[in-house]
Symmetry: C2
Subunit: 111 residues, 2 copies
């Protein structure tokens, strides 16, 4: 057998209809989470452990949940790993230009 998902509580992903701008803004207002998002813009999909953020694993899990429940990222089980990707299309369809403006502004402010 190729791969079977883990027997863990299913990952909850809101539908685009359920996205709330305020939740998204809140999710992105944290430096660690913004770093995660920025990293994901450069790579289509990453495993949890491959992010250059300086927090404990359990803290990282917490941040992923906040991003996931806001609709910013999608997570997929694959054996022992959990792959994370931006929900680019869903976000763009629901709130055109929003993510671009925010991430651009963030990178602009790093100077």
């Amino acid at each position: 057998m190729p791969r079977s998902p883990r027997n863990r509580p299913a990952l909850t992903h809101p539908e685009p209809d359920e996205f709330d701008v305020l939740d998204i803004l809140h999710a992105l207002s944290d430096p660690t989470r913004m770093t995660i998002v920025q990293t994901l813009r450069a790579a289509p999909e990453r495993a949890c452990g491959t992010f250059a953020v300086d927090v404990a694993p359990s803290t990282l899990t917490h941040h992923f949940r906040v991003l996931r429940e806001a609709g910013v990222i999608r997570q997929r089980e694959d054996g022992n790993r959990r792959w994370t990707a931006l929900r680019d299309e869903d976000l763009e369809a629901r709130f055109p230009g929003l993510m671009d403006a925010i991430v651009t502004a963030y990178e602009n402010g790093l100077a």
Copy 2:
């Protein structure tokens, strides 16, 4: 004499150079504050008491401070009143398109 400002701690307004995107996102991630911003988009300047938000006056003061310290609004003393306005130009100069994208997305999500 026309008008003299109150004898109160001066209003602190950050310079555009000091704006922090994460602070702005955090400031806008609250429904009351977003309502304030949205209201200010329609009117150039308003007195504090003229906002249709359902919170106590002291709470309103708190929200104004958060917005002000993030650089979103500017407040001006005038006799007994405090006038509030969006810092449109400063925000646009520092983070082009950011406020537009966010407020548009917010209004889009009210449907």
